[in-house]
C-alpha cells in the first residue's frame, strides 16, 4: 500500500526521504527504481494532480478575477496549497523588516512541494559555476566539478523532459545527444527582442524548460536511465508513454494534469510508487533526526498533522530534502548531548551562507507590437527564448564592477487577458474612458514585454538562518530567524540589469512607464522573493568549513544526506531545480553503492 498513515508504518525502511519536491522526488525515484525500500515523509497534505488542477479555468470563474492575495500570492489558480510567503500557523522571524535586510520564506504544504507551481526553467550550472572562488577569488568552490554532474544532468533531462538547444556558448553547457526536446518556435515578440538585442551584442537562444514539446523517447531513454535494470526500464517506459505532450495552453504554474511538464507528483512519484518500493506518509511534519548510540541516524521524529501526535519512523539511511531552510531548521532543532549545537553542525555552518537569486524587473511598451492581428501565443506558457549571461570576459577583467552574471527571462505576447491587462494604462492613454478607452485597450493588448533578471548572489556571512529563541509554530516546533544582507556585487548587478533592460526596450523602439532605476539597492528584489533559496548545509572539501561532503553526505553523521538546495556552495544565475535533481540522483547512486557494499 503506497500511501500509509503514520499509525501503520513498518518497523524500518532502507531509506527515509524527508520532503517530496525536486530533491526528495528524485532521491525516492532513483532509490526505489533500484530496489531500495523508501518511506517518504511530506509535511503537507496529499495532492491529486488529476482532480485538483484547474487546467482551462478562466479568471472570471475565480474570486476577484483570480487576482493575487496574501493567501494565493501568485494568483488564485497557482497550484500552491497552504503556502506562499505566509503559511498559517507556521511563522518565521526576521531580524529586521527593512526590505534590504529581510528574507521572505516561500513554502508549500503539499505533496510535490513547490515543483507543482514552479516556472519549469531548467538550466545547467556550467564549469565556472562549480569553481567560482578559483575563478575570481570570491565565495566557495564546490568539491565537485561540472564533469561530475554532467552525466546526471543528462539523466534528469531524459527522465523529466526538457526542451532547449545546444548552442556551444561559454559556461552554458550543451547536453548529450538526444537529451533535449525541441524548443517551441519563437513568436513575434521573441523575434523582435532577439533582433534588437543582437544589435547590442546580447544573445538570445532557446530557453530550457521542463515541458514536453513531444512525447518522451520511451523506446530508447529507459536503457540510458537504468542500464542493466530491466524492471526499472519497463516501469519508466510505461510511465513515459502515459505522459502527454504539451497541449499548448494553460499556464504551467497551475500544474498539468496531462503530465506534460515536470512536477514531482506527475513524474517522479508515479513510477516510484509503481515499483512497489515507495511508501508515502503525508501530513508528517518532521522536526528532528534521531541519533543512535553509534552516532548514526536511526530515523526521524515527526508530528502527524491529522492527529497532532508525535511519531517516529526508522531507517538505515536518512535523506533530508525538506528545502534548504527547512532542512537547516530540522538539523538545528536536532540537539542532543553529542550534538549540543544541532546535528551535523560541528563546523557551525548549518544555516549559514543562505543565498537567493538576484532579481530585478522592467516592463516596456513596444509600439511595434500594437494592434497585431489575433495570434494564439499561449505556447508552452511563453519562454521560447532567453538570454544567457554574455559578459564573462569583461567581467573577469573587472570591467563591470560586480563579479557574477545573470540571465534574462522575459515575457510578452497576447496571453490570456486577466486582472492586469487593462489597468494602469493612463501613462499611455491620457486617462481615456468610454469608446476611446475600449479602442486603447485593444491597441495596447499584447504590446508589453517584461524583463526579469536572474543573477548570482555570492554567499556572505551576514545572510543566514538560526533558531529563534522564543517563537514556536503551531506544532510547538521552534522556528527560524533570518538575517539577510546583499553585497555590492548583487546591488550593482541589479543596476546593470536595469540599464540593460532599458537599452533593449529602447532598441525595440519601446519605452517604460517609470525611469530606469539606477540605484541597485532600490532595483533589487527583497531576499527570498525569487524563491531560489539555497545554502545552509553547503558542501565542501573541508569538514571545518562545510556541512556536507562531495556526495551530499553530512560530515558528522555517516548515514545522513541532504538532497535539496541546502548543499549548494554557490548560487549560479541558473535556476537551481535541475541541479537539485542531478545532485539528488548522484547522492542516491552513492547510497545504493554503499548499501551494496554493506556500508549502510
Amino acid at each position: 500500500m503506497p500511501f500509509v498513515v503514520s499509525q501503520s508504518l513498518e518497523s524500518s525502511y532502507d531509506v527515509i526521504v524527508v520532503g517530496s519536491g525536486a530533491g526528495g522526488g528524485q532521491a525516492a525515484y532513483t532509490l526505489c527504481m533500484e530496489g531500495a525500500k523508501v518511506l517518504m515523509l511530506e509535511a503537507g497534505r496529499n495532492y491529486s494532480v488529476d482532480a485538483e488542477t484547474p487546467m482551462f479555468q478562466t479568471p472570471d470563474q475565480a474570486p476577484l478575477g483570480a487576482a493575487d492575495t496574501p493567501q494565493k500570492p501568485f494568483g488564485f489558480y497557482d497550484a500552491t496549497v497552504d503556502g506562499g510567503w505566509y503559511v498559517p500557523g507556521e511563522p518565521y522571524v526576521n531580524q529586521t523588516q527593512e526590505d534590504a535586510g529581510r528574507f521572505d520564506w516561500w513554502r508549500a504544504r503539499m505533496l510535490g512541494g513547490r515543483t507543482n507551481h514552479w516556472g519549469r526553467i531548467s538550466l545547467r550550472n556550467g564549469p565556472y559555476d562549480f569553481k567560482p572562488r578559483s575563478r575570481d577569488g570570491l565565495g566557495f568552490d564546490w568539491p565537485i566539478d561540472y564533469a561530475d554532474l554532467a552525466p546526471y544532468y543528462d539523466k534528469v533531462e531524459l527522465l523529466v523532459g526538457v526542451y532547449g538547444s545546444n548552442e556551444g556558448l561559454e559556461n552554458t553547457p550543451d547536453s548529450s545527444p538526444g537529451c533535449l526536446l525541441p524548443p517551441p518556435p519563437p513568436q513575434i515578440y521573441d523575434l523582435l527582442m532577439a533582433q534588437r538585442a543582437k544589435r547590442l551584442g546580447v544573445p538570445a537562444i532557446p530557453a530550457h524548460r521542463a515541458v514536453l514539446t513531444r512525447q518522451l523517447d520511451y523506446r530508447n531513454s529507459p536503457a540510458r536511465l537504468h542500464p542493466g535494470n530491466t524492471n526499472a526500464q519497463r516501469l519508466i517506459a510505461a510511465d513515459m508513454r502515459a505522459r502527454a505532450a504539451c497541449l499548448w495552453a494553460t499556464p504551467c504554474n497551475r500544474g498539468c494534469s496531462a503530465r506534460a511538464n515536470y512536477q514531482s507528483t506527475t513524474v517522479h512519484l508515479p513510477p516510484a510508487l509503481a515499483s512497489g518500493n515507495l511508501s508515502i506518509t503525508t501530513d508528517a511534519m518532521v522536526y528532528e533526526v534521531i541519533i543512535g548510540r553509534d552516532g548514526r541516524a536511526s530515523g526521524v521524529s515527526f508530528v502527524d498533522r491529522t492527529t497532532g501526535k508525535q511519531r517516529q519512523a526508522r531507517a538505515r539511511v536518512v535523506v533530508l530534502a525538506a528545502s534548504a531552510c527547512e532542512t537547516a531548521r530540522i538539523l538545528l532543532n536536532s540537539k542532543s548531548a553529542s550534538f549540543p549545537q544541532g546535528l551535523a553542525n560541528s563546523s557551525g555552518k548549518v544555516g549559514r551562507y543562505l543565498m537567493d537569486t538576484v532579481g530585478s524587473t522592467v516592463t516596456g511598451q513596444i509600439p511595434l507590437l500594437e494592434s497585431l492581428p489575433p495570434l494564439n501565443e499561449d505556447g508552452a506558457d511563453g519562454h521560447q527564448l532567453y538570454v544567457p549571461w554574455w559578459l564573462y570576459g569583461p567581467q573577469l577583467q573587472g570591467k563591470l564592477g560586480f563579479a557574477r552574471g545573470y540571465h534574462i527571462e522575459y515575457h510578452g505576447g497576447r496571453r490570456m487577458p486577466g486582472h492586469g491587462t487593462a489597468t494602469g494604462l493612463e501613462w499611455l492613454t491620457g486617462g481615456s474612458y468610454g469608446a476611446k478607452f475600449k479602442r486603447d485597450v485593444r491597441r495596447y493588448y499584447g504590446s508589453f514585454v517584461g524583463f526579469d533578471g536572474r543573477g548570482e548572489m555570492i554567499p556572505n556571512e551576514q545572510s543566514y538562518c538560526e533558531i529563534d529563541p522564543v517563537t514556536k509554530d503551531r506544532f510547538g516546533i521552534p522556528v527560524l530567524r533570518f538575517h539577510w544582507q546583499w553585497s555590492e556585487h548583487e546591488t550593482r548587478q541589479a543596476a546593470h540589469m536595469q540599464r540593460t533592460f532599458g537599452d533593449i526596450i529602447a532598441a525595440m523602439g519601446g519605452h517604460t512607464k517609470s525611469p530606469i532605476q539606477s540605484d541597485g539597492a532600490l532595483a533589487i528584489s527583497p531576499g527570498g522573493s525569487i524563491i531560489h533559496e539555497v545554502g545552509g548545509t553547503i558542501m565542501g572539501a573541508d569538514p571545518r568549513s562545510s556541512v556536507t561532503n562531495k556526495d551530499s553526505r553530512t560530515w558528522d553523521v555517516p548515514n545522513l544526506y541532504v538532497a535539496d538546495g541546502g548543499v549548494f556552495a554557490s548560487n549560479a544565475d541558473k535556476n537551481p531545480t535541475l541541479t537539485i535533481m542531478a545532485l539528488a540522483w548522484r547522492l542516491s547512486d552513492h547510497i545504493l553503492q554503499r548499501m551494496r557494499h554493506r556500508e549502510l
Binding site: 497534505r45 482532480a51 484547474p54 479555468q57 479568471p59 475565480a62 474570486p63 476577484l64 487576482a67 493575487d68 492575495t69 496574501p70 493567501q71 501568485f74 488564485f76 496549497v81 497552504d82 510567503w85 505566509y86 503559511v87 498559517p88 523588516q97 521572505d104 517551441p184 518556435p185 519563437p186 513575434i188 523575434l191 523582435l192 533582433q195 504539451c246 497541449l247 499548448w248 495552453a249 494553460t250 511595434l368 497585431l372 492581428p373 489575433p374 494564439n376 505556447g379 508552452a380 497576447r414 490570456m416 487577458p417 486577466g418 487593462a422 493612463e426 491620457g430 486617462g431 474612458y433 468610454g434 469608446a435 478607452f437 475600449k438 485593444r442 493588448y445 528584489s525 527570498g528 522573493s529
Partner: protein
C-alpha cells in the same frame, strides 16, 4: 436640492498598509478563517458573494453601474460593462477581507458618494440620472490624474481605481477576451511560428 457637496476622504486608512501592492510582503497576515483561505477548491466556479458577503447598497450599485458603463460603454464589438457582471465584481472586490481590497474600499465608497454629490451640485441629479453629456463633463474633470488640479486630486484617484477595477472585471470575462481577439486557452496539437506575412511586414527574420 440640498445635497452634500463634499465628503471627507478617508485617507488615513490607506496609510495603515505600507506594503500595499507588494505580493512578497508577509505582513500583515490574514487571520485564519477569513477570505477563501490558503487551500481553496480551484475547480469550482465562483460567483461574487460565494466567499464573503457583498456589501454595496442599492444606490451604490446603481452609481457603480452607471459609471462602469461610462467607462466601458457598448460598441460594435462588445456590450456595456454593467451587462456582464462588473457591478458584482466591484462589490466583491470592495467587500473582500484582504489588505489591498480593504485599502481600495474607502476610495471606492467615498468616490461613489462624491460623484453623486457632485452630480447634484452641478446638475441637481445623482450620477446615474444625468444625461450622457453631463456625465462626460463631470468625468472629464477627473479622468486623468496627471491633468487634474488639486481640487479634484482625490476624485481623480478614485476614478483611476474605479476604471482599473471595471477594466479588470470586463477583460477577465469571456466578452472581454473576445473583444481583445484572444484565441488561446484551447488544446492544440501543434504550436506554430508566426505567419510569414506578418514577419515580413515587421521586417523580422
Amino acid at each position: 436640492m440640498n445635497r452634500r457637496t463634499s465628503i471627507k476622504w478617508v485617507i488615513a486608512v490607506s496609510a495603515a498598509w505600507p506594503h500595499f501592492g507588494q505580493a512578497q510582503a508577509p505582513e500583515p497576515p490574514i487571520p485564519v478563517g477569513q477570505g477563501y483561505g490558503t487551500d481553496p477548491n480551484l475547480m469550482k466556479v465562483y460567483h461574487p458573494g460565494d466567499c464573503w458577503p457583498l456589501t454595496l447598497s442599492g444606490p451604490q450599485q446603481r452609481t457603480t453601474a452607471a459609471l462602469a458603463d461610462v467607462i466601458l460603454p457598448a460598441d460594435a464589438q462588445s456590450p456595456a460593462a454593467s451587462t456582464i457582471g462588473v457591478v458584482a465584481f466591484i462589490d466583491e472586490w470592495v467587500s473582500a477581507p484582504y489588505p489591498r481590497t480593504q485599502k481600495d474600499r474607502p476610495i471606492i465608497l467615498g468616490g461613489l458618494a462624491w460623484i453623486d454629490a457632485e452630480g447634484g451640485r452641478r446638475f441637481g441629479k445623482e450620477f446615474a440620472a444625468l444625461s450622457a453629456g453631463q456625465q462626460a463633463s463631470l468625468c472629464d474633470d477627473i479622468c486623468d490624474a496627471a491633468r487634474t488640479g488639486a481640487a479634484f486630486s482625490e476624485p481623480a484617484r478614485f476614478f483611476a481605481l474605479f476604471r482599473d477595477l471595471t477594466a479588470a472585471a470586463f477583460y477577465c470575462s469571456p466578452v472581454g477576451r473576445s473583444d481583445l481577439g484572444y484565441i488561446g486557452n484551447v488544446a492544440r496539437l501543434t504550436f506554430e511560428p508566426p505567419p510569414a506575412d506578418l514577419l515580413k511586414k515587421l521586417n523580422l527574420p
